[in-house]
């Protein structure tokens, strides 16, 4: 019995295309059908572009027929988080304020996907302007976790993770400012990678916090992530913060890792990221995964990163500060929503701006704009933004010291499995704690991956295993991630995710 197309990895699909077993059009249609069947329940997509995707698929098939594929993944469809500008396709960032906006240009990541021949299935749901850890802050309604539709799919990239977990797309692009690729990856049983800061161009990524944002792959296998990473990564002159040096050989590293020989690898367990406050089932799966790495030859060391305890506080100063400035451009003057205030005869520009922002921004966005405006205001700058930047320096030093003792650092990706929709909506601080293990990497700019580590005993929900590496050493993530994935699949007898486990098409959820 052959695996249905939609359940195969992107690498396997690329093979099927290369061998002529299927065509990109067939493949794209299969995913579009799956979206039509299950997205009513999952709500991973904000916009599906069937026409555009099929046109790209036809072009891809022509290239295959002519023997000139544009890349290894030419013809394999992809979903893109709605925070990336797509020429002519709606781009809303999950916000009412951008409802109906169609950018006149492509983000560099999108341009590279197109150049590599990947049909874009559509735009995925997200917390408004990427602010949240549950995708409940989308102005267009929450995304549901395919493992349990009453649970959150993580955030802010819940749409991308859920689309991949629900087999609506083999590949997706997410963005990670404080964990928004890795944490959704963890709670949906998918692979999520945050590349080194500057490793993938931010041009066209609608900024939440410029110094933290990073686009990256969301996939079902480590090799798929590497293949996608290779397409979107590398220097871009339009983003002056993008790294001007060759991308590390991530695909080679993923292949090498699958050989599960980790002899000589030093794995550092970060004392501050685990134990107390972490769900027992999460901690248990993490500990078991570390044991597997040891069996494969890795040496384990305990490392301490004392400044990590301040990471969350620093993050919640830097992020809203930058966001408050970035969101100032949404002023109803040139694009997006425009609301005229009621009961005002000849409203001023300020009146229109006020009414539009009041109607167009959700509570979480307003909360962070106010926080950020306050933190940057004169007299408070040094105490807040300035101190937060100093904490970043300390965190970077902690990383440097830790990476002298270990080649990679590991931790559970998220302290808990997926919580229930609505459970933490009224408690922003509890929500923020979900990113406690992922945030330090963003503050320091180092890369990280989340790999599925199994299901927690107490709730049968996915647990993520995080691997962090020094800046620009993204290849190490793929080596360790691929090794762990191979070891776990041997143990499980196959991938963690399978369509029959999800039971999405049942009436009660549709």
């Amino acid at each position: 019995m052959t695996t249905p197309l939609i359940e195969r990895s992107a690498a396997a699909l690329a093979q099927a295309l290369a061998s002529g077993e299927t065509t990109s059009v067939e493949l794209t249609e299969a995913f579009l059908r799956r979206i039509a069947e299950v997205d009513g329940a999952v709500h991973a997509f904000l916009h599906v572009d069937a026409e555009g995707a099929l046109a790209a698929a036809r072009a891809s098939d022509e290239r295959r027929a002519a023997g000139t594929p544009a890349s290894a993944l030419d013809g394999v469809p992809v979903a893109v988080k709605d925070v990336l500008a797509t020429e002519g396709l709606p781009t809303t960032c999950g916000s009412k304020i951008l409802e109906g906006w169609r950018p006149p240009y492509d983000a560099t990541v999108v341009a590279r996907l197109k150049a590599a021949g990947l049909p874009i299935l559509g735009k995925t749901n997200m917390d408004e302007f990427a602010m949240g850890s549950s995708t409940e802050h989308s102005a267009y309604g929450p995304t549901h976790n395919p493992w349990d539709l009453d649970r959150i799919p993580g955030g802010s990239g819940g749409g991308s993770a859920a689309a991949v977990a629900a087999f609506e797309a083999p590949l997706a692009i997410g963005t990670d400012t404080g964990g928004s690729i890795r944490q959704p990856g963890a709670v949906t049983g998918t692979v999520g990678v945050k590349p080194t800061y500057g490793g993938v161009s931010r041009y066209g990524l609608v900024a939440m916090a410029n110094s933290l944002d990073q686009a990256g792959p969301v996939t079902r296998t480590v090799l798929d992530a590497a293949l996608l990473h290779e397409i979107i990564g590398g220097h871009d002159p339009l983003d002056s913060t993008s790294i001007d040096q060759p991308l590390p050989a991530v695909v080679d590293a993923a292949h090498a890792g699958a050989g599960v020989d980790l002899a000589g690898l030093r794995v550092g367990i970060v004392s501050e990221l685990g134990g107390e406050g972490y769900q027992p089932g999460v901690q248990q799966r993490f500990d078991e995964a570390v044991e597997l790495l040891v069996k494969a030859g890795a040496e384990v060391v305990q490392v301490s990163c004392p400044s990590f305890v301040h990471a969350l506080a620093a993050y919640y100063l830097v992020m809203p500060s930058e966001a408050s400035s970035n969101l100032a451009r949404f002023d109803a003057m040139r694009y997006g929503l425009r609301v005229l205030p009621e009961g005002v005869d000849s409203p001023s520009a300020e009146d229109v701006m006020r009414a539009t922002r009041d109607a167009g921004f959700g509570d979480e966005v307003k909360r962070r704009i106010i926080l950020g405006t306050y933190a940057l205001s004169s007299g408070y700058y040094d105490a807040y933004y300035g101190s937060a930047q100093q904490v970043r320096t300390l965190i970077s030093r902690d990383f440097e010291a830790a990476f002298e003792q270990a080649d990679v650092l590991v931790s559970p990706t998220s302290p808990t499995t997926a919580f229930r929709l609505g459970e933490k909506l009224d408690d922003p601080l509890a929500m923020y704690l979900n990113d406690v293990a992922t945030i330090p990497a963003n503050l320091a700019g180092v890369p990280g991956i989340s790999v599925p580590a199994g299901l927690a005993e107490e709730d049968d929900l996915p647990v993520g295993f995080q691997v962090l590496a020094p800046a620009t050493a993204d290849d190490r993530l793929y080596r360790v991630g691929a090794a762990l994935e191979a070891l776990l699949e041997q143990q499980w007898g196959g991938p963690l995710l399978s369509a029959d486990k999800l039971a999405l098409e049942t009436e009660e959820h549709a």
């Binding site: 951008l98 002056s240 003057m333 940057l376």
Partner: protein, 504 residues
């Protein structure tokens, strides 16, 4: 606080108060592309045709620094004897305005590219030419905003307009803002120092070739900050900031006006409101703009989308080596070379003719003739047509050739004016105009002799005087010959012929 209706006389004001000035000058650079994107940075064009996602501030767009603009900033800094930062950053200046695409301006805040400089300016006083040193606090890089056009309403201002249009062609054009330290101690010369400083800065900018520096087109915009303190107190009073003053003369007038206005308020026991003010060219007064307290909060923070600018010391030294001769040094060198009097030099500089005269001389004309043509003949015509001297359709080489024709005796000064007419009318080179208009002087003895004979015959009284030895009277006969020959006679030869005929 009462608003005084009477201004205090300027000299009277100075009896009680010391003025302190600070000048902020914005220079629009003439780079080919904008500060942070590849759009053309040219003036004009159909509205919103020179734009892209970045200078429109569209969501997701990102800036990338124009290296040429950084180079210009460094050269300006070096010309103003500034330190050049080894490492500096851009910052975001957050405020709302409809013509500002991102609602923050990418600028520099506490880390400018150039700082701690100085420049000397000269002012003519009762003691002759005095030099004042102006200290430069900083010169930093930033981007220009778009331009609003308010349609409807009487004033052209946003208030009362039916609607507003915004043109983003100018958004993102690179600007350098040059800020002085407070200029104190200039006393009654303060307004003249302000004017001289802005004029000096313009000269420097033009010499560097980094901007067209045209004040009438807004390439160079000056803000005049002024405050008064009781005489001898040594302190600084509350200042006002008069924005976008757009001529040298207005800079001086605005400073003078603010001294008189502020003195009147202070004398009446009032206090000065810290605010921006608008200068009105027609009435010569400033009026209140928006109040600007120190509490105004731009929420500056380092621009996270741009990597720091770290000009290498080698590069800075390379740029230092390419600096043009400082205008003041150049002027004194040229004055000496040309043998001009102080007045002649000042007029030449004042007319904006220094470079034109220099080029004309390098094409072979004598300094005095070059000065004469540019400052009399051509300055008059430029004035009549309301154009710049440099914009007249004639080259220094043409002027030098016309003078050469005079020196060679082919034409005289009077004919030369007709040659200028021809060249300016686009009839060709000076030689072509002489040929096509038939302007060459007649020095052929046969034709001249006949005309001289006729003149002697027609003026027997004058001829008799000359015969009696009053040679000075020959002028009248020369005039008659000239008239007959329509100005094209060689006056020297005519005189010789008259004397020849009447002495025999």
């Amino acid at each position: 606080m009462s608003t005084p209706t009477e201004l205090v006389d300027f000299d009277e004001a100075l009896a009680s108060y010391d003025p302190a000035m600070g000048l902020e000058v914005h220079v629009e650079l003439n780079t080919a592309t904008k500060m942070f994107c590849g759009c053309p940075a040219v003036f004009g064009g159909e509205p919103n045709t020179q734009t892209c996602p970045t200078c429109l501030g569209l969501p997701g767009s990102m800036p990338a620094v124009n290296a040429r603009a950084v180079e210009s900033a460094i050269r300006i800094g070096l010309a103003l004897n500034c330190e050049i930062a080894e490492w500096c950053r851009f910052a975001r200046k957050n405020y709302f305005y409809p013509d500002m695409p991102k609602n923050f301006q990418t600028s520099q805040y506490d880390e400018p590219i150039a700082f701690d400089g100085w420049t000397d300016v000269e002012v003519v006083t009762e003691n002759g030419t005095e030099t004042f040193r102006v200290e430069i606090e900083r010169a930093h890089m930033e981007e220009d905003t778009g331009k609003s056009l308010h349609v409807g309403g009487a004033t052209g201002r946003i208030h009362g307009a039916d609607y507003s249009l915004v043109d983003y062609n100018r958004a993102g054009i690179p600007l350098i803002e040059i800020v002085t330290r407070p200029i104190t101690g200039a006393r009654e010369h303060a307004p003249a120092v302000a004017r001289a400083y802005v004029a000096h800065l313009r000269e420097l900018i033009v010499a560097l070739g980094v901007s067209e520096a045209r004040m009438d087109q807004g390439n160079l915009r000056a803000d005049v900050n002024l405050s008064l303190a009781p005489v001898g107190s040594g302190g600084l009073g509350t200042r006002t900031e008069t924005k976008n003053v757009n001529s040298f003369r207005s800079v001086e007038r605005a400073a003078r006006y603010e001294v008189s206005r502020q003195a009147a308020i202070l004398r009446a026991g009032g206090s000065i409101t810290q605010e921006t003010r608008h200068w009105h060219e027609d009435t010569g007064v400033t009026t209140s703009g928006r109040e600007k307290s120190d509490a105004e909060d731009y929420r500056y923070f380092p621009e996270p989308d741009l990597v720091p600018v770290a000009p290498s010391r080698e590069w800075v030294e390379e740029l230092r080596a390419t600096l043009p001769e400082p205008p003041r040094a150049r002027r004194s060198r040229l004055q000496q070379e040309w043998g001009f009097s102080d007045l002649e030099m000042r007029d030449t500089v004042g007319a904006g003719a220094l470079g034109l005269v220099e080029e004309t001389i390098s094409c072979g004309a004598s300094p005095q003739s070059a000065r004469k043509w540019w400052l009399s003949e051509l300055a008059r015509r430029a004035n009549e047509t309301g154009t710049d001297l440099a914009a007249l359709p004639i080259t220094p080489a043409d002027v030098a050739r016309i003078q050469a024709l005079v020196d060679e005796g082919k034409i005289n000064d009077k004919l030369a004016r007709q040659v200028f007419d021809g060249v300016l009318a686009g009839e060709g080179t000076p030689d072509e105009v002489v040929a096509s208009r038939g302007l060459a002087v007649v020095s052929d003895d046969g034709a001249l002799g006949e005309a001289v004979d006729r003149a002697i015959e027609a003026n027997p009284d004058v001829a008799a005087k000359i015969r009696d030895g009053k040679v000075a009277a020959a002028g009248a006969l020369i005039g008659a010959v000239m008239k007959e020959m329509r100005g094209q006679a060689d006056a020297g030869r005519v005189r010789e012929l008259i004397v020849e005929r009447l002495s025999s």
